[in-house]
């Protein structure tokens, strides 16, 4: 019984810790958007063609944060 409770505790603490991935994803997406804005304000004429690149960069930065969610989900429902 003790071991089961400890496992449950570990599961929930681990799922909570997995949310730290959000911090990294937030920094990453913020970097992408901020640098895009800095570049776009310097040269607004070229900005429109680069929006696709912006979204690709955001998607890559965000994906790693989402892997954190997947880890949390696996801990909560699969382990």
């Amino acid at each position: 019984m003790e071991a089961e409770a400890a496992a449950l505790l570990g599961k929930y603490i681990g799922a909570g810790l997995a949310c730290l991935a959000m911090a990294g994803a937030g920094i990453g997406v913020g970097h992408v958007a901020g640098n895009f804005l800095a570049g776009a304000l310097r040269n607004p004429a070229a900005a429109k063609e680069q929006t696709a690149t912006l979204f690709i960069g955001m998607a890559f930065a965000e994906a790693l944060g989402i892997f954190g969610l997947v880890v949390a989900m696996l801990l909560l429902f699969a382990v």
Binding site: A52, F55, A59, E62, I66, L69, V70
Partner: protein, 253 residues
């Protein structure tokens, strides 16, 4: 299914909305009609209605429906052309199908009491795997075994090449995973957060904190707007990454 056990009288569990179940009762079989398949069928019907009814008139000055259909077509075509070039246009029907299907599934999932098929990794995983397999087949048909040089960067110094080769291989095979999980997890997380806020609102009302309940309600309105944005952006990202992979296959970097 209704509660997570330790609450007892807890309201609706935020994950309840993702339960797939047969609509007409009975056991679930591979062929049974579930809420997931129903909403996928509704999306397909809506796309067919928009594109077929929209282009039936072929007016020089388009009606509203026709201009929406034309906008959608032109948008996907332009994005594909920008990313993958002239050769990529051959695969336009596939990209258009993927984009419209995901967009409509995401958007129809925002209706109250509806179901979002794209919030399930099973659905997005199949789409991502189909993209992965077809892109790899296209690459091998176009370049033959020369496509294997894609993983062997010639511009790097010699001793670095084996290391980069391993990294390139891993990043190539991780593509379907990140491709599917990005879409699925975004839709899952967004809808779960909406439900959490809704539950908080209901609990505050029931707990007699009527005036404070305005906070989660305001949060929910903002999040709903954000979710509409995410629904579009994730469909767009799925499409544009497919275009990028296609471009890699056709032009090898």
């Amino acid at each position: 299914m209704a509660s997570n056990g330790n609450g007892g009288e807890s309201f609706i569990h935020p994950m309840d909305q993702f339960v797939v179940g047969p609509i007409f009762g009975g056991h679930i079989t591979p062929l049974s009609v579930t809420n997931s398949t129903i909403w996928m069928a509704i999306s397909v019907l809506a796309i067919c209605a928009l594109t077929i009814l929209g282009t039936r008139g072929r007016a020089l000055v388009p009606s509203r429906v026709q201009s929406i259909a034309e906008l959608l077509y032109g948008f996907v075509r332009q994005t594909l052309h920008e990313v993958a070039g002239d050769e990529g246009l051959k695969y336009f029907p596939y990209i258009f199908t993927l984009f419209t299907f995901i967009l409509f599934c995401n958007m129809l999932g925002m209706l109250p009491y509806s179901f979002t098929p794209t919030s399930h990794i099973a659905v997005t995983g199949v789409m991502a795997l189909a993209v992965f397999v077809s892109v790899t087949v296209i690459a091998f048909r176009k370049h033959g075994t020369h496509f294997l040089m894609f993983f062997w960067p010639m511009e790097a110094p010699g001793w670095l090449r084996p290391v980069l080769c391993v990294i390139e291989l891993i990043s190539y095979f991780v593509r379907p995973v990140s491709h599917s999980v990005r879409l699925g997890a975004n839709m899952l997380a967004g809808h779960a957060v909406l439900k959490v806020f809704a539950g908080l609102f209901a609990m505050m009302i029931a707990g007699g904190l009527g005036a404070l309940a305005i906070l989660p309600l305001a949060g929910m309105i903002g999040l709903t707007a954000l979710e509409f944005l995410v629904a579009f952006i994730q469909a767009y990202v799925f499409m544009i990454l497919t275009c990028v992979y296609l471009n890699d296959a056709l032009h090898m970097h």
